[in-house]
Symmetry: none
DNA sequence: GATGAATGAGGCTTCATTCAT
DNA sequence: TATGAATGAAGCCTCATTCAT
């Protein structure tokens, strides 16, 4: 019996490229390095992705496809809830996806801060789509009288800022703050901060957002201790 | 009378490099491009900065020296005030500095998200110093009973996130949100959001932060109109 | 039948580099020139030798490996003979090797007169090994009572001088003396001079060194004529 | 009173250039290095010598002028003596000059092993003149019946080899043989070897060459000890 | 599928030199 | 006499890519 290994080489390239792009940036990484880390012949990169740029586009596309899949699922799964709860769940799903693909995520956010043709293309497709999703949620909330009447821009900048910070400052957190954004603790705390934000900034009347999986409570003494151990508090 | 032109060529290089690094990233920019944009011979980059890396280090150093000068001034000028007012003024000064040097700023924030030796050095010097400054303000506030007892890490990540977002998402704001973060309107609004954050998250008792220069009022109808024109609201 | 062409490009580079290094010196030759003379793309030098310095090291290593192979063979083949005969045969082999690779040889001798790290490394390996070989021969000769008790240093400097002169003064011989050190005549005469040196300086009792291949006799009238033709005598 | 310092800067350049050309070769040395070692502005090299090549030519010319001055003096001073004694004294003077300028000497010998236009020019002038001098001495010796009838070429190659070896193998002697060719001991021994060469190869009847200054005797026990100390014997 | 050879373009840096002062 | 600014050319090397196998 022959076990078909679905494209071992291709996956090795993807993993190596993600790691290197993440740490050194796209332009700071050569395909030579990628091939070496992947333990693969250089020509394979051209073979599978046509070019270095093709590899970049593949990774970004892969990132956004996964992102929207997760976000769309979250929307479907939370149709029935209050709009603030839905927003919470959507952002939580998005953030979870990002944490599961943190290397890819940091790299994509960094790359999107450039002014290139590729970036402009991404903005006019994926980011427009994302804007549509989040602004729709906002508008529904406003219409239903759940949310304050804040501008789409303010809302979106806040959301994007919230989603990107753990990744763009990942290295800073580790080196300067000695605090791992990858830890479960951080992620719980970060989500509860978002809950706070929804309540204090967005909602007209405070509501109780239920969060089954993650029953993190800021006053939970166990966690307090964990934080203390981290030497952060 | 002799007019001293302080090193025209060097400044032309600095300006060109800042613009290109800002848009294309450090690794995405060649010294040939810089020399061409600066309308200067390529060898001058070596002459003035030794190497491309030397130019990078010069710009980053220049950025942080200006940053700390502004921040230190703000601290000196606001010694007498409430600590929450002081925090507000310091952040405002920092943000003003960044807006005045927005190209340099975006570039520095992006570069700091990499894992390089240079970045590690910067973190262990400039960012440690910055951490010391902001965490001192936080601790004083906590001791005086003005601030909630939140962790240094949470505080710093919020501050860094606040300071960086307008720059890292500058292009996104323009292309996707059609909203210029460079506008006076945005900057006023952004500062008033920070005032809100201090009051709602940080301060135990809400206080009235006075801000002479910037008497921006969210309900000011003129500005509302301006926003409408921007097509954002 | 498949004819294996052992790396045509690599060999073309080697030949071109040898010729140019020989005439212009290592530092006086650019890899552009080498590539041009070899009729090969410049990047192949990096591809096959990593760097220009790598090419240099390759050539020097190649030279010494060939040199010691020849010398070791000569030693093995002449174990049974008198030590003075053995010395003669070893030096003859070495000199023959050098004449067969005269371009490489001149270049290596010239390069070894520099004070570089590479030269120091070569000295502590290859030249130490060479010293060991020749000084062993000397010591055996002294112990057996065949050779005078002269110092290792004097002996080695004489030997090195003898081996290098035809190459370091090759150009001088041609231009100033109109005498080709590459000619069979020169080489025969040079070896017979060495025979003389062994007899007059080194050996306590004059012996008759037999030299099958090279039955050159200084009084041979044919050769005298050849010399006359050369316009040297 | 103003003391005229005869061109301090020029001399600093000459010294630095000699040292660096000696160790790294002409092509291996940049004018930047020279200027730095001389602690002088780069432009001064162009100012005093027009170009790097001009500096090279200046040094080589300087070398040969000094060389011929010494040789001519030796010839004048020893007109009355036996021709073999004269030869001895001339070579001794030449060698002394070379030892006094050993840096320059090694560098010149190395450079002359190249095939450049400059070298060809030097050969057709200085080296032709040198050839004339030494071959005249040889011919006079032959005519007078003092010397064997050997070819000019053989004679000149031997002489050149003798004059150059201590310099071209200077580094080799130090590193491999642990023997300083700069020492007075070496130079004495080397001259007495030359005396031997004259007697055994060149002269028909052995003569006693008198050498006032340098009464070195191979059997002198003091020197034997000195040699022993050097660890060479 | 995967590879090693080979390439042209362009990377950064250093070169020797010039010129106004 | 001496210098700092500035330059064009060339240095070596690495880049991403192609192609025959």
């Amino acid at each position: 019996m022959i076990v078909v290994e679905t494209n071992k080489t291709k996956n090795k390239i993807i993993d190596a490229a993600t790691a290197l792009f993440n740490n050194q940036g796209y332009d700071g990484t050569s395909i030579r390095e990628i091939a070496k880390l992947a333990d693969v012949n250089i020509a394979n990169i051209s073979y599978y992705f046509n070019s270095k740029k093709g590899l970049l586009e593949y990774l970004i596309t892969k990132y956004f496809e996964g992102y929207f899949q997760r976000v769309d699922e979250a929307i479907s799964d939370n149709r029935e809830k209050h709009i603030s709860e839905m927003l919470y769940c959507v952002i939580k799903s998005a953030l979870n996806y990002q944490f599961e693909n943190s290397g890819l995520t940091r790299f994509v956010y960094r790359e999107l801060s450039l002014d290139t043709i590729l970036v402009r293309e991404i903005m006019s497709t994926y980011l427009m789509r994302e804007k549509y999703i989040y602004s729709s949620i906002l508008n529904v909330g406003i219409k239903r009288g759940e949310f304050e009447d804040i501008s789409t821009s303010s809302f979106l900048i806040s959301v994007k800022s919230f989603l990107s910070t753990p990744f763009l400052f990942q290295h800073y957190s580790q080196e300067v703050l000695q605090w791992s954004v990858q830890s479960h603790l951080f992620q719980s705390k970060y989500m509860s901060d978002f809950k706070l934000w929804i309540n204090r900034y967005l909602c007209i009347n405070r509501i109780q957002i239920k969060d089954e999986e993650n029953s993190y409570d800021v006053n939970d003494s166990t966690l307090e201790n964990e934080i203390a151990v981290c030497g952060v508090v």
